[in-house]
Point group: C2
Chain length 156, copies 2
DNA sequence: GTAACTAACTTGTATTTTGCAAGTTAGTTA
DNA sequence: TAACTAACTTGCAAAATACAAGTTAGTTAC
């Protein structure tokens, strides 16, 4: 009942509006967070923490694939499962997600992240960002969260 | 019919989700764009380009004020008008908006911004970001857009 | 080989949010 | 003082979201 050439809607020539037309909702960036930061690959693993509805998830994944941010491929051995990966265009959203993470960490009074880490974020920001990017790239972000950010694994 | 302590909804401990709970929609960041980048101050000037509905605008402004990102004050001389300004917390969203702008400029094939500027954005990113921040701070962003980005004033 | 199981959706429907048009109101201008 | 205006508010149709349940191709256990 939708999914046109994606060129249908275009509110203005503003680059921010352009982005928001694609990911300006409560869910899209959380799905991308899981794909980009946590290397999740399967339908049933996305935005589980926030309990996304499966119909919304399916719609967003289709939209992201359509926009060229992610790819969907059938698992070679387990053919009833699909594997989602970010494309290069998808990876280009990392800086936005990083800034949003930093902002949230600095303004969420209830964050479970350690005060020390948040302090480092303001005093040695570039250093910390570098660490996060490295951890994400090497696939050790989960460990980094526990060790550097003081998070409990149970908190996901 | 709403507007509770804003602590009502909280999907997860994720800092990105924390941000999205506040500005995860198609309009909030456009209003902040106008306040932060274009120094707009009045109700009827926000997101005009994208023709926001007045009820949505009113609701978002109330939410932003409630969250401490903007302030609302009555104009001293023209008492039928209100003036909105960003707080320090509001200004802290600039990095996110900047990243979103950069992303949009680099991926919107129909952007009216000059190819030269977009090229500079990839080759001398930090330099360009510095220029933008300076232009915004000095209140000359409109001129900067015309001169450096090759935009027509009519495009707003 | 077949019954139970499961990942990945799809469908139906109630609820919420958004969009659009029109109305209101305090304060301003002619 | 009558016309005008900024800043909303209200009413309602349309779209998006949430929640529960159903479907289906493919996998696993026996």
């Amino acid at each position: 009942m939708m999914r046109l050439a994606s060129s249908t809607k275009r509110r203005s020539a503003c680059p921010i509006a352009f982005g928001l037309d694609l990911f300006g909702d409560k869910w899209t960036l959380l799905i991308l967070r899981d794909i980009l930061f946590f290397k999740k690959t399967r339908f049933s693993d996305f935005a589980v923490r926030e309990s996304i509805s499966t119909n919304i998830l399916a719609e967003r994944l289709a939209r992201l694939e359509n926009a060229g941010l992610i790819t969907k491929q059938q698992d070679k051995t387990l053919k009833n499962q699909n594997i989602y990966h970010a494309t290069e265009k998808g990876y280009s959203l990392v800086p936005i997600l990083l800034e949003m993470s930093i902002w949230g960490l600095q303004h969420d009074e209830q964050t479970p992240v350690s005060k020390e880490f948040i302090h480092r974020l303001t005093t040695e920001r570039e250093q910390v960002v570098g660490e996060i990017v490295s951890a994400v790239q090497s696939g050790t972000f989960d460990e980094y969260r526990v060790q550097a950010m003081g998070l409990d694994l149970k908190l996901l």
